[in-house]
Amino acid sequence: MRINLDYLKQFIDHKYDKQELKEILASIGIEVDEMIDVNGTDVFEVEITPNRPDWLSHYGIAREIRAKNTALLLNEIKVLRKKSSGTGSFKIEIKDKTGCPRFSGAILKNVEIGKSSEAIKGLMESFGMRSVNNVVDISNLILMTYGHPIHIFDLDKIDGNKLIIRSAKKGEELKPLDGEVKKLDETDLIIADEKGPLSLAGVMGGEFSGVTKKTKNIFIECAWFNPSRVRKTSKRFGMKTDASYIFERGADIENTEEIIDLTIELLLGNAGNSIEIIEYFDEYSEPVEKRKVKLGKDFPEKFTGIHIEERVISDILTSLGFRLEDNSNYWNVEVPSFRVDINAHEDLVEEIIRIYGYDKLDTVIPGTASDSVEGYEKRLFLDNMRTWFTANGYSEVINYSFHSMKDNSFFGDEINYVEIRNPIGSDFSVMRNSLAAGILKNTATNRNNDFKRISLFESGTIFIKEEGTLVEKDVVALSASGYETLPSWKDTEGRVFDFFVFKSHIFAYLKRMGLIFKLTEASEFTGFLKKENCFNIIIGGKEAGFIGEVDDKVSAFYKNEEPVFICQLDLDVMTEKRVEKNFDIWNRLPAATRDLSFLINRKNKYESIAKVIEKYRPEALENYSLTDLYEGKGIPDDKISMLMNFRYRSSAKTLTTDEVNDLHESLTEKLNDDLGIIRR
């Protein structure tokens, strides 16, 4: 809202310069966004919080400044009601009393519609409003001055000498002052005559009954409309007007007659000399009861932590329009009708401390201790993972949680997408069902910027529907592309990421965290990984994620030309399956190692060798590893040559050479029996 500083002075006679005034307003909760100069007049653009509709006016602001500095004088607004000639033929009928509990008005005849005075035109301009004619400008001036919207009808357009306030019927139509014809329904509150709707209550008047150059006789409306009703209509039609803005926050229900009188006062001075006041109206059959809040005298100190004198408290509240009834240990505080935001004693404390000064608050440290520490393991695991992978060359990325439909299509079934009803664009229309898409985009971005090693990780939530319910999963994704070790003068080749290098990075970490895991052929092939290079990772018997090389077509979609390896792991599974190890004393007896060189059929995976070893594993076999692998020249096409190393060490005794040889021979035989290996 705009405040014209010259106009403000009509209500409060202060001597502050604009900078001081800005500070004072800030100290009581009114933020000045901008200071504007309109034809030499200083104007503040202020931001009014939605709980304070009473601040949406010059008078309301003046009242607050007065409360802050009680030495200043506030010009009370009071005009005497002028006499009316009164014919009694016009009627107001409120059919919907929850929608409109109060409706005041007046009929004026012989109003001369014309241009506004230069003074009013200047005010309109400073408020950022267009000057239309003297009558419309005056209704806007009333709004900006007292914060209660009024509406003026052309009396001669009202059919049947009657205004009816009711809910619209489905199918009724109204063409507002600006915009298209609106189709109304029962949620809309309207002001109608016998023929039909004239105005959308509290939102905008209709074009037909509005004031024009030809208007002679008028009906001035000042009413109170239900905030929720106004808001629904305003939202549904996308019509945010100055009137709806105030009504949906809550106007003052008690000042409607006063506003009518003030409007007439202004019209008399600005719309011709022959104005005749015909009749006043005020439909208010069930007056709103005055709100009262009990404020214990010790409560302000209890709630703010500082002592404020009783006299100061009562002065502050009184200056803000509250009425205090003093009882021995509490006040009964009557809330002024314009303060829609005050309902409880905490609200009063805010009023007191706001004017007394937030800067007077003490700084005290609460002695409260936390009640529990549950649920930190997952975060600890993630922290650990982040530290380890950043130290090993993986950079953390954070992507938006939104995907396009196309992104999601690579990673799951459409039936399981979590769709956003009102997305900001088609690229962001569903919640992500994988972290892979973001990482693939990031990989391409960085490749274009000539990064040679692009290894990334992201932790975050993915979203899917499982049997119709929404599921959020915390996962961690890792990716690698390009060089693992950059070429250098010492090593001109460097080392390029391949599946095994990537897998080694991941598995080294899983081992370090004491997880028991294995790779299996992907149980569900989703198509974004290469069929021949696509695995599930099982941790502690639970499926925990996938690892593999991204399919060429998917890679190309995200503009990657080089191979990208990717892995996604479920953080909850990892956290759940993690077992912290106990100390285990190492074996101090000497170890013996034996090599085994053999040919094996290509169709046998390494896993099958490991299985046989595990099946027949002697207690004294401490460790085994693959030390070389060869295929090609000198080896039959259907075979692979492997060199494995076995380390034997018994916990019971030092093994003799013969004992070691026996163990090794027997294991070799089993491998031969089960897999047909050929020793070399």
Partner: protein, 343 residues
């Protein structure tokens, strides 16, 4: 007899010192080594033959003498060997460039989040987290955003198709709601996390961003406790000389509410053209207040028995103010030229 031998050993020692100084190469040193220590004809080896000529009581004395000269000789030779071999070796050029080892970085958002979390963990707060898709009830209604109140407009909300009661949380306050519903005071938590608002991405807006909120509920908690707590926190984050300014504000879920500014850590209000405070000397940093009695009630806590305070801040805002990030979209492009500058 033993005295003669002692003398002889002294002579050998002197001679050795003399000779070893003149040695110029490892080959010469080998010759010298053979001369003294060779098992067959070394001078020290042949000394031992004299042992059997000695009377019994002198034998251990002599043995010791021979051993010590042997040890001395070995050490001298080793020393010389070290010097000679070093002389021969060409020292490496340590100034050759190191290899470019790629290190990873923590994302700036994580870096700031962890920093703030750690301050509060040190103050005894516990971290609580919650889902990103929330019930409208937890995000708005129980936080005293009345149905159809304009306060809801201030947080443009994404909704989920087919789940009319759900939305993408617009702040992390619903985590506090969940926590209060499940726990009895004392409550002392912070809730960090992603939040969503329907904003087109531009330099100062992104539709997905991060918040950290705090909540403390106990008996006799007052507004001054909030100020004391925030003073510790903001000084830890921005420096010991940071000043705080509390201004009245409005949030549906707190009453009284306060906007909190910190003194500009860049210019302290002394630079009219300061890039962050624009000369005002103050930076808006967080929103806070005493938890609204309706919120406590909605979460099953008696507002006449307990009171509490809550506060919240945006991590992206800290990225802009403290770390000079000029465009929030940089945070989500994941260009390593950006990401690698932090953490």
């Amino acid at each position: 007899m033993i005295d003669d031998l002692r003398k002889e050993i002294e002579n050998i020692k002197e001679k050795l010192i003399n000779e070893i100084e003149k040695v110029q190469s490892l080959d010469e040193l080998q010759l010298l080594k053979d001369k003294y220590l060779s098992r067959k004809k070394g001078m020290l080896t042949s000394l031992m033959t004299k042992l059997k000529e000695l009377p019994n009581q002198d034998k251990p004395v002599f043995g010791n003498l021979v051993n010590s000269i042997k040890k001395f000789t070995e050490e001298k030779i080793k020393e010389s060997e070290y010097q000679l071999s070093n002389k021969k070796e060409i020292s490496i050029d340590g100034t050759l460039p190191e290899f470019n080892i790629v290190t990873g970085n923590t994302h700036l958002i994580t870096f700031i989040r962890r920093k703030i979390e750690n301050i509060f963990l040190n103050m005894g707060y516990k971290i609580a987290e919650g889902p990103e898709i929330e019930f409208d009830e937890n995000n708005f209604t129980l936080l005293n955003f009345k149905e159809d109140h304009p306060a809801r407009d201030e947080q443009d909300t994404f909704f989920i198709n087919g789940f009319p009661e759900k939305l993408l949380r617009t702040h992390t306050s619903p985590v506090q709601v969940r926590y209060m519903k499940e726990h009895t005071p004392p409550i002392k938590i912070i809730s960090p996390g992603k939040v969503f608002r329907k904003d087109e991405p531009d330099a100062t807006h992104v539709p997905v961003f991060h918040q950290i909120e705090g909540l403390l509920v106990d008996r006799d908690i007052n507004f001054s406790h909030l100020k004391g707590t925030l003073e510790i926190f903001l000084r830890a984050l921005f420096g010991d000389n940071t000043k705080l300014r509390f201004r009245p504000g409005y949030f549906p879920f707190t009453e009284p509410s306060a906007e909190v500014d910190v003194s500009c850590f860049l210019c302290d209000g002394k630079d009219n053209k300061c890039r962050i405070c624009k000369g005002s000397g103050w930076l808006e940093i967080l929103g806070s207040g005493m938890v609204h009695r309706e919120v406590l009630k909605n979460c099953g806590i008696d507002p006449d028995e307990y009171s509490g305070f809550a506060f919240g801040l945006g991590i992206e805002r800290i990225a802009m103010l403290k770390y000079g990030v000029t465009d929030l979209r940089f945070l989500y492009e994941n260009d390593l030229r950006f990401n690698s500058q932090f953490g």
